[in-house]
Symmetry: C2
Subunit: 217 residues, 2 copies
Amino acid sequence: MNDARRIKDLLYEQVARIGKATSSPKRLELIELLCQGEKAVDTLAREASISMKLASAHLRELRAAHLVNTEKQGKYVIYRIANREVAEFWVAIRSLAEDRLVELRLALQQIACNPKELAPQDRDGLVKLARKGDVVVLDVRPSEEYLAAHLPFARSIPLDELKMRLSELPKGKMVVAYCRGPYCLMACDAVELLRKKGFDALRLPEGVAEWGIVPER
Amino acid sequence: MNDARRIKDLLYEQVARIGKATSSPKRLELIELLCQGEKAVDTLAREASISMKLASAHLRELRAAHLVNTEKQGKYVIYRIANREVAEFWVAIRSLAEDRLVELRLALQQIACNPKELAPQDRDGLVKLARKGDVVVLDVRPSEEYLAAHLPFARSIPLDELKMRLSELPKGKMVVAYCRGPYCLMACDAVELLRKKGFDALRLPEGVAEWGIVPER
DNA sequence: TTTACGATCTAACGATCATTAGATCGTTAT
DNA sequence: ATAACGATCTAATGATCGTTAGATCGTAAA
């Protein structure tokens, strides 16, 4: 009787470890960043706008829940998402949050309205257009993330190089810009810039994780 | 610049509310119970082996994350899972936990080994056998849960009535017993009892939530 | 009306967590 | 060697959380 309780409690306790690991905003942001590709601690800290000490502490938690792996490379410690399932969970918990929390939907509308977004269109359709070259799928993330994983037929121009490299883009064609996902604002900025310069640009609010694409190794 | 930070932080903060709500073992157990059907606070407290005060406090948290709904019925306050997505998330977070945490897999093996389990068989096959009457799919949960939702062609004999109602079961046929899911031990006990009484019994470690069946209203 | 009971709220306690600073350790560059 | 830097560990802080007890409120049965 009491024995059954003990084992039951143990089971729920283990599942709660996943919940606990995903109960901190900054840890979620770190997971999203790691979904883009492997990164060292100082890179993660900079990109999440936190101190390296705090990043290290949060990564420690994620590691305790086995959601991320580490590998020492000389001076650096490289963090990676543990596997595809973690990336899928990041998409899943976000999806549930959007479904249940009005506040989140409202906040999303704020950033979604400004630059025109691509409708939650069929992905095959976009890929077909990109393959034919009728639209340019533009990856505006840092180039290391593009190299780690990117959408099919996407071209890489990091956001901070975009202004100087506008000539690389065909003037007549539609440009679809994407970044790390719906919570990342880089594609918004890119679309704003492109439109100002006379391009026909849309934001694709999805990233590699949403497409089920995951960096290798 | 700083403006973008503020809205980003807000987004991750909202998602973290879901993580926080699912970071407590008892809250997860309450979610699982509510996946079986609507329940009053005192029922939930009894079935989760906690005080009503504590149950009330945990349910308050789940309600704050909009994962559950409430409705006052006279003396009682009835809690319900908010929608199908919540039940699916409960299955998803459990699945990730099993994938990532060795301790959880080990604990599961402890309860899985004793009574022989049904292989992660195709569900259609089981339903076909049950429809023809070649196997008896036995729901050993309390009858209110059976009434709220149950597997196709399942018969209801609650665990605490099973010993007295053995005569209702055909002696020659295979009995497949299930309960609330892989973390619930009622089906284990049922299989143990049935085998002792000469039945050919197996445990189906899945419940309604795992089959994507969700109580109405 | 009185009584019992389901349920929540409040206050309070100890425990845990987020965050920062200081010290430490290993590696790379000078 | 020394210096610089990435990264972690420790300790310490304030905040938050889990849990329990006491009081309160509404409803249903006596």
